[in-house]
């Protein structure tokens, strides 16, 4: 990720020279007032505040767009063919290939132009937006694009910030403002940002410099020094930075100084086009294309050779009736050979049709609508259906072999409920959530001990109330939150409802809310922050206040967070909560022993467990910690690392109070969905526990820190041992009994945790050996659980599987920002429109509202699209092979002179009009399911079906040509003795061809809707009509009236009719035979499918 960002940075910031880029920080003068102390004031040059998301301008649109389009290999190929046709004397006019190419290019250009126009419009709206800027004490209205770095900008409520600002002054008394970053990362909660301290005095006279790092795209990282003319140095963090694109909320107005502008804002830097994921199907298409290209080249070579062999016979090169022109006589022999070769290429180039690309694109584009139209994906709760971000991967959905799923919010609903807690080894369970204070009951401790425990209990609950970053939702009266009124409201039945019950809490993670709410149930209510004081109402309804000294933020590496608070009586306490694995090593062992059992049990039941620890800090200890933290925060380089070191240092020697268990309820039908996916042969890897991932009879292989520590030896040794053992069980078991594989198959499940995984990946030099062992075990298990993973580890796992042997197709599904890396890594990324913001949705290829929709998406749409696209591609190759093969064979009969068999109109229209619509309709509407074909990987785009289609094409092409050839051994085919010429020959072949390929498709169609009927019979009717029409008129713009009445005359010949019918039937005969001989499976398969969905 970071590499990507870095590259992006270099690409995006075109305002900067390369050298300046090396400078680590930039200095900004607030209000452009130089600091008296600094010697010289050189107004630094930064880029202006214009946002340019558009790709083109009016002037460069044509060249740039054309360049981009012709960078695609297919377009380039067709351009070359077109140019050859223009330059060299070729059998077909340039129009035949130029027209379709022109069509494709134009349509794409119009589409891209329109999209760019929309972007221009959006840019303009942003850039021309009027903002208020303080200039020399006066307020001036300016267009947003004219803001310069260093300007002091005023923003009022509900406005978005025009650039990245450092908050200087807020209208709120507590020097904060609220911001929602919905349009940046999708988190719609209100975030608090703080002003720079000591700048309350007049902004007009404020002269200060801001030293901040060069623009970088990480939204949550910001390291800056703010110096008030060297008098004082302040370090600022992301909580002082207001990002462009975020919206001011709950605050009347603020002033801020612009630090990053225009394309250097964090939003613009994050504005990245996702890397294009290419469908695996596309790769097989390219492979097939290569084969056809070889066929094409060899055909052209054969013909060129034949031509010169034929010409070498006496009297054939230039018989008296067919003299060359002077120009042709003068031309160089080798040049002639080359142009002949090119001409043959052009003649046969229809074998690789430009229209296939168009049709495939159209199919994917239109097909994706069916996904977003599907009402089964509509979720009434969020009023949204599925979202398709890329239509390229429709068919890939049906080919998924590995499913990687995130737990929180994906498998589960991410609505947390506090279930139980465990204090000093005693379990407290809230049996009935409606009972209030007294619901705090003891299940496994004697009642008499309750009193003695009270102190510990309260400490635990205070810890829950203090150790978090939850905010209490402001009640401004106009809010739509009913539960906001702190003073209590009357319930519907008039009964007094406890005010706190209805309190709205906002936090970045729902766990924290659940914990605070849990504490509230037991009598400790968090009332909110009041200028750095946390107010907590205890059981006796007294309000206790604690001064918040430091927050040691949560991060996924440490997997814990802490707060340092000072109580009224001056005690300084550190409360820490975090995952058991990260807390246990930092507390005393005997405490761990008391609690670990509970934690373990809760974890097995699928609850999220957190351990809570605390530590009393002496004033010396605190002073030391305080100094360390401040120093680390001021650091400009490696601030993260330094902070981490201090955190780790402070969070030691704590004592464990207890543990909590929060239930994260499973998504609706999560278990059923997972079961269905497994039944469909997919392997489900999850970053969680629980759920019915493990079916009965599954043998579990566990590889976690706990199993590794059993032996008490070094972890590495143990890891080696365990891996080998599991490998033997899981892998070798299969290889020894391949015969009984299906019947006596033992399902294995595999569990690994983050710590062990990192051990596997980067422990020792021979980690690659571990890795392959690990991979082999995993591949033989139906289910793999990866617990406690960092985002990067998730991506690592996906990457490992993706690059393993056979390159299986992987799918990642997740809902949160932590899943983005995984979503981007997998072949298909699916985002859930859940509660954790839109990051995942934005980076995904498909977004669905609920996990349960995955089943239909993969087993329904995915499978359908796979069948459709596979058929589409194969059919295209087939129909063009039997289109061009007669033309090739004709070269043997016309002295290899590149004489086309078909008229130019037929050559052009064949792929565009006569045969394109039926296959498009088929590829959009077919619902032909043949389960066992779909189960096997890439079964329909492998070489054997491809070979079958190719052979069919060759067979039919030969049949068409030679059938008519034998008929034409006597060209007197009419009952008046008149004869047919070469264009009649071509027309008969072409008629047979059009009917055969259309009827072949009709035979493959299993699902005849009226559209199929319309399009298939319509195409044939159109062909008839067109042929009559085309041959019925002397076209003034045509140089040669080749087809004049050819078609009508053909239809007047009984022999022509008979041969057409015969050849159509004969070419379809093998297909019919195969259909009959193949076992009739469809009815059953369809039943299977419907039970699956």
């Amino acid at each position: 990720m970071r590499h990507q960002h870095h590259r992006l940075l270099l690409l995006k910031s075109n305002c900067f020279g390369r050298d300046e880029r090396r400078v680590d920080s930039r200095t900004i003068y607030v209000g452009h007032r130089p600091c008296p102390a600094t010697d010289t004031f050189i107004p630094p040059k930064f880029c202006d505040n214009r946002i340019v998301s558009s790709k083109y301008t009016v002037w460069n649109f044509l060249p740039k767009n054309l360049f981009e389009q012709f960078r695609r290999i297919a377009n380039f190929y067709f351009l070359i063919i077109f140019l050859v046709q223009v330059i060299v004397d070729t059998p077909t006019s340039p129009v035949t290939s130029g027209l379709p190419l022109f069509f494709v290019i134009t349509v794409t250009a119009i589409k891209q132009g329109y999209e760019d126009w929309l972007r221009h419009k959006a840019d303009n709206e942003v850039n021309k937006y009027l903002v208020t800027v303080l200039e020399d004490g006066r307020r001036a209205r300016k267009e947003s694009e004219k803001i310069k770095v260093g300007d002091v900008v005023e923003v009022v409520e509900d406005e978005t910030f025009p650039c990245d600002l450092i908050l200087l002054q807020s209208s709120r008394e507590d020097e904060t403002c609220f911001v929602t970053t919905a349009s940046l990362d999708g988190e719609s909660n209100h975030k608090t940002h703080y002003t720079v301290p000591d700048t309350e005095k007049g902004l007009e006279s404020l002269s200060a410099t801001v030293e901040c790092e060069q623009p970088q795209p990480d939204l949550y990282k910001f390291v800056t020094f703010f110096s008030l003319c060297v008098v004082s140095l302040r370090s600022l963090g992301p909580e002082n930075l207001l990002l462009k694109g975020a919206t001011l909320k709950n605050t009347q107005k603020i002033y801020g100084v612009a630090v990053y502008s225009g394309m250097e804002t964090k939003m613009a830097l994050n504005y990245q086009g996702k890397s294009q994921k290419r469908s695996v199907v596309e790769k097989s298409i390219n492979a097939f294309l290569l084969v056809y290209l070889c066929i094409l080249v060899s055909k052209a070579l054969v013909c060129t050779t034949l031509k010169y062999v034929w010409q070498s016979q006496p009297g054939q090169e230039e018989p008296w009736y067919n003299q060359k022109t002077q120009k042709e006589k003068d031309a160089n022999l080798y040049l002639n050979m080359f142009t002949d070769f090119l001409s043959f290429m052009v003649l046969f180039n229809f074998i690789i049709p430009v229209s296939m690309y168009v049709t495939v694109e159209m199919q994917k584009f239109l097909g994706s609508f069916f996904i977003s139209w599907d009402k089964d994906f509509f979720d009434p709760e969020i009023q949204e259906g599925a979202l398709v971000n890329t239509s390229d991967l429709n068919e890939e959905l049906g080919q998924v072999e590995y499913v990687f799923t995130d737990k929180t919010g994906t498998l589960t609903q991410n609505s947390m409920e506090f279930i139980e807690c465990c204090i000093d080894g005693f379990q407290y369970k809230n049996r009935d959530s409606s009972t209030e204070l007294d619901g705090f009951c003891v299940t496994d401790g004697p009642v008499s001990m309750l009193q003695q425990k009270a102190g510990r209990e309260e400490l635990f609950l205070r810890a829950l109330c203090l150790c978090h970053t939850v905010q209490v939702k402001e009640s401004t009266g106009q809010e739509d939150w009913v539960g906001d009124q702190v003073d209590g409201v009357l319930g519907l039945d008039g009964e007094m409802v406890h005010p706190a019950e209805l309190r709205g809490f906002i936090a970045s993670s729902p766990d924290e809310v659940a914990l605070v709410k849990g504490a509230m149930k037991y009598g400790f209510t968090f009332l909110g922050m009041e200028s750095k004081n946390m107010r907590v109402m205890n059981r006796d309804k007294d309000v206790e206040t604690y001064e918040l000294l430091h927050v040691l933020n949560f991060d996924p590496v440490r997997r814990r967070m802490s707060v340092i608070v000072r109580s009224k009586c001056g005690d300084i306490m550190l409360f820490c909560k975090g995952a058991d694995s990260s807390i246990f090593p930092r507390v005393r062992q005997e405490e761990v022993d008391r609690i670990s059992m509970h934690v373990e049990r809760n974890a097995t039941e699928g609850y999220r467990t957190l351990c809570v620890a605390y530590k009393l800090l002496s004033s010396e200890e605190y002073a030391q910690a305080d100094a360390g933290l401040r120093e680390a925060r001021l650091a400009l380089d490696d601030r993260e690392e330094k902070l981490m070191a201090v955190y780790n240092q402070v969070e030691t020697g704590m004592s464990l109070i207890g543990a909590t268990a929060v239930e994260d309820r499973l998504q609706e039908e999560a278990a059923e969905t997972m079961e269905a996916l497994q039944r469909a042969g997919m392997k489900v890897w999850s970053t969680c526990y629980a759920c019915r991932l493990f079916q009965r009879g599954t043998e579990l292989l566990e590889l976690t820190v706990r199993t590794l520590e059993d032996g008490g030896r070094r972890r590495e040794e143990r890891l080696h041992e365990v891996l080998l053992d599991y490998h033997k069980r899981a892998v070798s078991a299969f290889s020894f009994s391949p015969r009984s594989w299906t019947s006596a198959k033992q399902d294995y499940g595999f569990i690994i945790d983050g710590a062990t995984l990192s051990l596997v990946f980067n422990s020792s030099p021979d980690s690659s050996h571990y890795k392959s062992l690990f991979l082999q075990i995993c591949q033989n298990c139906t289910t793999v659980l990866c617990c406690r993973m960092a985002p990067l580890q998730k991506a690592q796992i996906v990457n490992m599987v993706k690059n393993s042997k056979g390159s299986p197709i992987t799918l990642s599904i997740g809902d949160g920002a932590n899943d983005v890396s995984m979503i981007l890594e997998a072949h298909i990324g699916i985002g859930i429109k859940g509660k954790e913001g839109r990051q995942a949705v934005r980076n995904s290829d498909y977004a669905i509202p609920k996990l349960k929709h995955l089943k239909k998406l993969l087993l329904g749409h995915g499978h359908l699209y796979y069948v459709r696209i596979a058929h589409l591609v194969q059919y295209f190759f087939y129909k063009n092979l039997c289109f061009i093969l007669p033309q090739f064979l004709y070269q043997f009969f016309c002295g290899s002179s590149q004489q086309p068999l078909y008229d130019a109109a037929y050559l052009t229209m064949y792929n565009i009009c006569f045969t394109s619509m039926p296959i498009l309709a088929y590829s959009l509407l077919e619902q032909h399911i043949c389960m066992e074909v779909l189960m096997t990987k890439n079964a329909m785009l492998r070489w054997s079906p491809f070979l079958y289609w190719t052979l069919l094409g060759v067979y039919q092409g030969l049949l068409f040509f030679f059938g008519v050839r034998f008929l034409f051994s006597n060209p007197a085919l009419q009952d008046n003795g008149q004869v047919f010429g070469n264009w009649s020959y071509g027309t008969i072949v072409f008629t047979v061809l059009v009917f055969t390929v259309t009827l072949k498709l009709a035979m493959d169609t299993r699902h005849w809707t009226w559209i199929n009927h319309f399009v298939i019979w319509g195409s044939l009717a159109f062909y008839m009509f067109f042929s009559f029409f085309w041959g019925g008129i002397i076209w003034p713009f045509l140089r040669q009236q080749r087809l004049y009445f050819v078609f009508a005359n053909m239809l007047r010949s009984v022999s022509a009719w008979l041969v057409i019918i015969l050849l159509i039937l004969l070419s379809l005969l093998p297909e019919i035979l195969l259909l009959v001989l193949r076992k009739p499976r469809w009815p059953h398969s369809r039943q299977v499918r419907y039970t699956h969905i």
Partner: protein
């Protein structure tokens, strides 16, 4: 690929109007329409081809094709056809001298007579074809070497023919009419047929030269510039094709409806053949009003005015006499093909029927667990 850009706009969410919405898309109710099309639930016919449905089709095809094939075969066999090669390649043939002593600019036409005899009388209308072998009328350079608008009577094209006609476009600075290689190589042998009466006297057989070209070609596609009269005037300023002995307006001076571009021999020649061995309709011998056969059995003489050289490219020239049926000229291919395909279908039908009966039930039960 096409839809991939559609989410790009979401990120430009700067418009103040959009503020207050949690994310994108809560603006309006996006519930998809519940239409059969959008939900992919269009009523559909789902045919399942099974042995049961296809088997009768095989029998039906067999039963239809075999009679048709037999009919075609019998018809083709009943067609009488006589082919006479008069190339004169070997010493013994009567046209040997003509073929050897050929030169383009000889003024005196070379004639030869080829005697032949009919074993059977030819009933009904008899069609007389000339056939050429190894003559690549379908060579690309040849096929395109014509100007259809000139042939359609366009006066501008008459004066400046299309570039495609090169190198037969102009001669002596004058445009050639009709231009191009096809016209230039017009078949110009004259064939005449004489019946030798048993008493030894020769009777010329009347050869009709109209009705040999496609009606549409003669009446629409080919037209003389400015009507069929005064062709000499119209074609003034043009040159005759280099290999021709006479101008285009002298092709049939006796009949203005068969002269110039609408000369039927010319039109027939201009319809290029599909294969290097081909035949073209030359004359029609109409049946006699009384019951006597058109060509009674006996001795005949084919009088050839030998103008057309084929030796240089090892070609052959033939004269073909043929009767015509509803399916056209003699061609056993269709009949044989129909009989073969019909029998194969019938046979397959029987085989499949056996397979179906023997294994059908077992297949069916084995299928269910799938």
């Amino acid at each position: 690929m096409m839809a991939s850009n559609y989410n790009a706009k979401e990120e430009d969410g700067h418009q103040p109007a959009a503020i207050g919405h949690g994310g994108a898309g809560t603006v309006k109710n996006k519930k998809p329409d519940n239409t059969a099309f959008k939900q992919q639930r269009l009523p559909a016919w789902q045919p399942i081809l099974t042995a049961g449905t296809v088997l009768p089709a095989f029998f039906v095809i067999g039963l239809i094709f075999i009679p048709i094939g037999i009919g075609l075969f019998v018809t083709s066999n009943n067609i009488k056809e006589l082919e006479i090669d008069y190339t004169g390649g070997d010493m013994s043939s009567p046209c040997y001298n003509c073929s050897q002593s050929y030169s383009w600019n000889s003024t005196k036409p070379c004639t030869c007579s080829v005697p032949f005899s009919l074993d059977q009388p030819f009933e009904s209308n008899v069609f007389m074809y000339y056939g050429l072998s190894n003559f690549y009328q379908n060579h690309r350079r040849y096929v395109k070497s014509r100007d259809d608008s000139q042939l359609n009577g366009d006066k501008a094209s008459l004066k400046s023919p299309s570039k495609e006609c090169e190198p037969y476009r102009t001669s002596d600075e004058k445009p050639i009419a009709p231009c191009g290689a096809i016209a230039n190589s017009l078949f110009n042998d004259t064939l005449e047929l004489y019946y030798i009466d048993p008493n030894g006297s020769r009777t010329a057989i009347p050869l009709v030269k109209k009705g040999i070209a496609w009606w549409t070609d003669k009446h629409v596609k080919f037209r003389n510039p400015g009507g069929n009269d005064n062709l000499t005037v119209v074609f003034q300023g043009t040159s005759k094709p280099v290999n021709w002995r006479k101008s285009v307006y002298e092709l049939d001076p006796s009949d203005p409806d068969n002269n110039g571009f609408i000369n039927e021999d010319f039109i027939v020649w201009m319809r290029t053949a599909a294969l290097p061995t081909f035949r073209k309709l030359y004359r029609i011998i109409h049946k006699k009003p009384n019951m006597t056969p058109t060509l009674p059995l006996g001795q005949y003489i084919l009088e050839v005015t030998y103008n057309y050289p084929v030796r240089s490219f090892e070609g052959r020239k033939r004269m073909i006499l043929s009767t015509i049926s509803w399916m056209g000229g003699k061609n056993p291919f269709l009949g044989i093909a129909y009989i073969t395909v019909g029998s194969v279908c019938f046979f397959l039908g029987i085989v499949l029927l056996i397979i179906h009966h023997k294994y059908g039930n077992r297949n069916h039960s084995a299928d269910i667990p799938s």
